[in-house]
């Protein structure tokens, strides 16, 4: 079957009334949590996992698709109206977006963000539909050594490239890998790190880990540093754009998309680098460079498009290789596994209808975001005024409910509290959260590939580099690891350059 007809089948599945309803719920829920401080799409998907066990996997994933794009969109509303971005991917949007809002152009900022997200999301999803099958074709020829190498690359890239401190990234990764070890070893049946506790034999449920780190850790952390006087959100009416705004926006949208998708698809994915690149590019190319720093619309249009295109790009390795590169994709991968679906290149052949319905619902979700959110923007702005005690008490309440309903064990709630305390500590001392989550999810799979590889080579370590792809990947790994040392050498020879971003943003969080 070719891409087109598979996609049409996907639309047929996704547009049944029931599935369409789940898409609408997903988009609204996703935007709401994206707008609300303290909540992100990764956490929402984690919280909803137990609830969706009662649904068909297809319906559940259609809803997740809506939450994923909705969350990305909602983040931009917060950063434009509040100037304190919750996700690092919207840090750049806040720079110009909030200046625009303060200058009375909030409606235009929100409009260019929404329409730019739609354009980028649609192109990005189309690229996903075209690229993913190609990656799959390439990926089915890969053996265990290559998979092992690629997963190592993904872990190292996320740990070493993102975040401000590599050392703290690796510390977080180590903790995640250790958590992933808990339970019965699948090959030998040995109990590892269970401390004689039978309830630990099945390992720690990924839902419990994700909810603990994202939700409980966040709620405790915010409670410790709650703003005494809440930030004032800039009121906004119906988003709209004038003719000159359109003229200044459409090129940044397309350029942002071109930055976003490839970066999202890379193992070190994430939206931080492309949004930043897009901002710098627009600043250079703009005919109104004097407006930058005072609310230039290009500085919102480009990064927002890059952000959404990166979100679409991230799904390419997730669906084609079973390789998540951001937190939401990681939790969605965990969802696949909990439905008994094996992610990886076989996914397209074994679960074709589900995957294509998911891709089709990404298109639908994108469209829904545009038509639902333009009129609802004033409502979302009101949501920002929700009293904080209710918001964070609610997060704890639903985190407890979600974690408890997986196994109906009070023991899971103790794990939730302990790992929540760990999440608190990580936020306090600047340990990034993403390496830990990826370590928990990818750790056991990496170990599986390692053992398969050496089983095939009868214990000869040379089996690890027995495939050409694996060798190439190891070279990339070596470059990533050596990069900061090379950078130091370059810096020593050249005096420091001025940073391109204003240093006011401060959010080092890339958990969403």
């Amino acid at each position: 079957m070719d891409v087109w007809s598979s996609l049409m089948d996907g639309f047929a599945t996704a547009l049944t009334p029931l599935n369409f309803m789940y898409a609408v719920i997903g988009v609204i829920l996703g935007t709401a949590v994206g707008v609300l401080p303290g909540l992100g799409p990764a956490m929402t998907v984690a919280l909803l996992l137990p609830v969706t066990y009662a649904l068909e996997p297809t319906s559940a994933f259609i809803m997740f698709a809506g939450i994923y794009y909705g969350g990305m969109y909602g983040g931009s509303t917060t950063s434009i109206l509040l100037n304190t971005p919750g996700e690092s991917s919207s840090v750049v949007t806040a720079i110009e977006g909030n200046k625009m809002a303060k200058a009375g152009r909030a409606a235009q900022a929100l409009a260019t963000a929404a329409i730019g997200s739609f354009v980028a999301g649609t192109i990005g999803t189309a690229l996903l539909a075209v690229c993913a099958p190609i990656v799959v074709k390439f990926a089915v020829s890969l053996g265990a050594p290559s998979y092992f190498a690629i997963m190592i690359l993904a872990l190292l890239a996320v740990t070493a490239v993102l975040g401000s401190s590599r050392l703290r990234g690796f510390a977080s990764l180590g903790l995640g890998l250790a958590i992933g070890l808990v339970g019965i070893d699948s090959v030998t049946g040995q109990r590892r790190l269970t401390f004689g506790q039978p309830l630990l034999a099945d390992g720690l449920d990924i839902v419990v880990v994700a909810v603990a780190i994202f939700a409980v850790g966040e709620a405790l952390w915010v409670a410790a540093h709650l703003r005494r006087t809440p930030l004032h959100a800039i009121p906004v009416g119906q988003p709209w754009m004038g003719k000159s705004d359109w003229k200044r926006s459409w090129k940044p949208w397309l350029r942002g998309t071109a930055f976003g998708f490839p970066f999202g698809a890379l193992p070190a994915g994430g939206a931080e680098i492309p949004t930043f690149l897009s901002y710098v590019t627009e600043k250079r190319l703009s005919k109104h460079p004097e407006e930058f720093g005072k609310g230039a619309i290009e500085g919102v249009a480009g990064p927002e498009a890059a952000n959404n295109a990166a979100a679409a790009g991230t799904l390419t390795p997730m669906l084609a290789l079973g390789l998540p590169t951001n937190a939401t994709a990681a939790v969605m991968l965990a969802a696949f596994t909990s439905y008994g679906i094996q992610p990886g290149p076989q996914l397209f052949s074994s679960q074709g209808p589900l995957v294509w319905a998911l891709i089709a619902s990404l298109f639908i979700g994108n469209f829904l975001l545009l038509i639902i959110n333009l009129p609802l923007a004033p409502l979302w702005a009101k949501l920002l005024q929700l009293p904080r005690p209710y918001l964070y008490a609610g997060i704890l309440f639903f985190a407890t409910l979600g974690a408890y309903s997986v196994n109906l064990q009070a023991f899971d709630l103790m794990i939730l509290l302990v790992l929540g305390a760990l999440g608190f500590m990580m936020r306090r001392f600047g340990l990034p959260v993403l390496p830990l989550i990826l370590g928990v999810i990818l750790g056991p799979r990496i170990e599986g590939q390692l053992r398969k590889t050496l089983q095939l080579s009868a214990g000869d370590p040379a089996g690890l580099w027995s495939e050409p792809i694996a060798v190439v990947v190891y070279i990339i790994v070596a470059i990533i690891l050596a990069w900061p040392f090379a950078l130091k050498l370059i810096k020593r020879n050249r005096p420091g350059k001025k940073p391109l971003l204003p240093a006011n943003s401060g959010a080092a969080d890339y958990s969403d």
Binding site: G174, A178, L220, A223, R388, F397, T400, M425, F429, A508
Partner: protein
């Protein structure tokens, strides 16, 4: 002694290094305690990866300790509702954690409706709301709604506990 005390002041991050090191040692000891004969079908065995993870944790612990003693500092995470200009407010966090623990202790015995009410009401109070009655009504409503919602909508029976037979 006093020089040691001053050099330790404001270095609470050393606790993180300690935790990492302890985790590394635990992972190592646990893996070391596994008994497995060498098997041809599994040359890697269940010990190799834990050993690598333990090494990673211990190396990170040592390097973090050195980094902190040299004046390195992790950047505390910002956010919409986070104000880092005042120190951690334990008078909010501890009661909040208390409400959470109370829920764990109560959930199986008293049931979700009671323990969930305690959790939400306690959390809202800890976070600074002073509308006792309104908050109480919201708490009960939320717990009841989720109890019936999960039971009727999802087929998940949350524990009824003390209210068994009434609900």
């Amino acid at each position: 002694m006093s020089s040691l005390a001053t050099s330790l002041k404001g270095r609470s991050e050393l606790g993180v290094a300690l935790l990492l090191g302890a985790a590394g040692v635990v992972v190592f000891l646990d893996a070391n305690g596994l008994v497995t004969p060498y098997s041809k079908s599994d040359p890697v065995g269940p010990k190799t990866v834990p050993f690598i993870v333990a090494a990673l944790l211990i190396v990170c612990a040592v390097m973090l300790a050195i980094n902190v003693l040299r004046g390195g500092k992790g950047e505390a995470e910002g956010g919409e509702d986070v104000d880092l200009s005042h120190p951690a407010d334990w008078k909010t966090v501890l009661p909040l954690a208390g409400a959470f623990v109370l829920n764990i202790l109560l959930i199986d015995w008293a049931g979700w409706v009671i323990s969930g009410t305690v959790l939400f009401w306690g959390s809202v109070l800890a976070l600074g709301s002073r509308h006792y009655i309104r908050d109480g009504i919201i708490s009960v409503a939320l717990s009841l709604l989720t109890f019936y919602g999960f039971y009727l909508g999802l087929g998940i029976a949350l524990p009824a506990g003390l209210l068994e037979g009434i609900l």
